[in-house]
């Protein structure tokens, strides 16, 4: 399922020769047909084409946002857990503070501050979920720090830097990968939510959330405009959740919780 969606998004320009942004007023709001399997939107653009191109945007935003959170959260969590002390205390209070905001609210506020557009959405969604990584990695670093193999490495005269990269970081890989997969689904959802509110990617760029927002206006006359982009979001998030659950069971049996 995931492969199918990624395939559709990746090969969009080859599969669908039409421009996803060019209005075609002679065929607005056509219901699904052989010619346009998902119908056309209020500007006459083929919805299948737009959903496929939208996948490129949504997946890209999701990937970049998760990369941003990991890039910020992993080093901070690593240092915080490994060194402990005052730095750790400071970081943890900051994380507590950020976690006092519901995730979507934080992303929304950041977008309000930064403004709309692809880059800002990535930064907002990414930063909003960085505390999750700080917590996760810190936990691992904390538990690994005093284990025998780390002590052995230290006794052999390894530098902190070497211990961090060679011994502590590898232990974080499995949980971070599992978390990132699940986080990808969340990031796509959050970004789509922002788009739906008109605070995400600017039209005419096709993005699933933004398309859904446009579709809401025509919900009563043209159900297909809102239905298909939403279905695409649902299926991708479902796919990432399934993948994440599977990876968790395979890589990290300790995390098998809910």
């Amino acid at each position: 399922m995931l492969a199918g969606l990624v395939f559709l998004a990746a090969l969009a320009p080859f599969l669908f020769p039409e421009d996803p942004t060019e209005p075609r007023f002679e065929r607005v709001l056509r219901p699904p047909s052989w010619e346009h399997p998902l119908g056309t939107d209020n500007l006459g653009r083929d919805l299948l084409t737009r959903v496929a191109y939208g996948g490129r945007v949504s997946f890209l935003i999701g990937l970049l946002a998760v990369a941003t959170s990991a890039a910020v959260g992993v080093p901070v969590g690593l240092l915080s857990g490994y060194y402990g002390g005052r730095f750790d205390l400071l970081v943890q209070r900051l994380v507590d503070l950020l976690l006092a905001f519901p995730g979507f609210l934080l992303a929304l506020t950041l977008v309000a501050v930064l403004g709309v557009g692809v880059t800002n959405v990535v930064v907002a969604v990414g930063l909003a979920s960085a505390p999750v990584y700080v917590r996760l990695v810190r936990g691992v670093a904390l538990s690994v720090r005093n284990q025998t193999f780390v002590e052995a490495a230290r006794a052999l005269g390894a530098s902190d830097r070497r211990i961090l990269f060679r011994h502590v970081l590898p232990n974080c890989t499995a949980p971070v990968i599992v978390q990132s997969t699940l986080q990808l689904g969340t990031a796509i959802l959050t970004a789509a939510g922002l788009g739906f509110l008109g605070l995400g990617v600017k039209p005419p760029t096709p993005e699933w959330g933004t398309m859904l927002g446009e579709g809401q206006t025509y919900l009563f006359s043209s159900w297909y405009m809102a239905t298909f982009p939403g279905l695409a979001i649902f299926l991708s998030v479902l796919a990432f959740n399934l993948l994440g659950d599977g990876l968790r069971d395979a890589l990290d049996p300790r995390m098998k919780l809910a």
Partner: protein, 306 residues
């Protein structure tokens, strides 16, 4: 016990103060001059300068923050740049609708989620279990706004059973509640299932079976009571997600709550309103989690108040 509650309350104060710092800092990070943003490009430099002084923007940041906090403590959140109304009054007018939606959704999610979890756990690996877990997986993957639109399409447009949006009668409450609760139902069902499964394998449950109690008594009276402890925490955490989801749900169903106020304010660049609503949302979430912590200590006597 009351000492513990008091201590938790005192500990929540730094968090709340921290929240005000974060919100204050975020709003000040907005590029550009707020006074210029308010007045527009046509305004003269003098007018802008006058508004800057009036808003206290000519003072250093720590002074601005101290003033902001002092006013906040008096219940003054400033005035909306768009309507000129005090922000607190605007929020006060919208807060009940949001609280109503969040509370009914939490109640629905808790009842449905726990029931589904119990069904699933007591019939592990059965057809029922798989059905519940599949639906739960769908539940955590559904975009709330899309679910809302699809429910609207089905129940308002095709079946004409329920109104598509608005506020007032119980009928108006049904679709937004179901929409908003869906995600939490799924999370709570998953948590209840795994927690109950763990408890069902413990010795005291075996004892209860051995005493010849019927399954209803064993599961509901003995096992579920303890299994619900972690579920309580999840419900508290869910409340945050619920508030986030409420912003989207309110937009879908034209529900006159704080979420729509916030979104409208962001679009209109009405920063005093943005600042106020974000603050109230975060404070609400913090207080609910505080209440959950206290409840937790009440439910689980093993927790020491040390």
């Amino acid at each position: 016990m009351s000492g513990y509650i008091l201590r938790r309350l005192v500990l929540a104060v730094p968090t709340l103060v921290g929240v005000t710092v974060v919100v204050f800092a975020l709003i000040r990070l907005i590029p550009g001059d707020p006074a210029r943003l308010v007045l527009g490009l046509q305004a003269s430099e003098e007018e802008v300068q006058r508004l800057r002084v009036q808003l206290g923007l000519d003072q250093p940041l720590p002074v601005q923050y101290a003033r902001f906090l002092a006013r906040l403590l008096q219940g003054d959140l400033g005035r909306s740049v768009v309507t000129g109304e005090p922000v607190l009054r605007e929020i006060g007018a919208r807060l009940p609708a949001t609280v109503q939606l969040a509370v009914t959704s939490t109640v629905v999610a808790t009842l449905a989620g726990v029931a589904a979890g119990v069904v699933s756990a007591t019939r592990q690996y059965s057809w029922w279990d798989y059905a519940v877990m599949t639906v739960a997986l769908f539940g955590i993957s559904l975009p709330v706004f899309w679910l809302g639109l699809m429910l609207m399409l089905l129940f308002s447009v095709h079946l004409r059973w329920l109104p598509a949006g608005g506020y007032g009668t119980p009928a108006h409450l049904v679709l937004p509640t179901v929409t908003l609760a869906a995600f939490s139902v799924a999370i709570i069902a998953r948590m209840t299932r795994s927690s109950l499964l763990e408890v069902l394998h413990q010795d005291y449950v075996r004892t209860a079976w051995a005493k010849g109690l019927n399954s209803r008594a064993v599961v509901l009276r003995h096992a579920l009571k303890n299994a619900l402890i972690p579920v309580v925490t999840v419900i508290g955490l869910q409340f945050g997600g619920l508030l986030g989801g409420a912003i989207l749900t309110e937009t879908v169903f034209a529900w006159p709550g704080m979420g729509r106020l916030l979104v409208g304010a962001i679009v209109a660049r009405d920063y005093p309103v943005v600042q106020g609503t974000v603050l109230v949302f975060a404070a609400l979430f913090t207080l609910v989690n505080l209440a959950v912590d206290v409840l937790y200590a009440y439910v689980d006597p093993r927790i020491h108040y040390g």
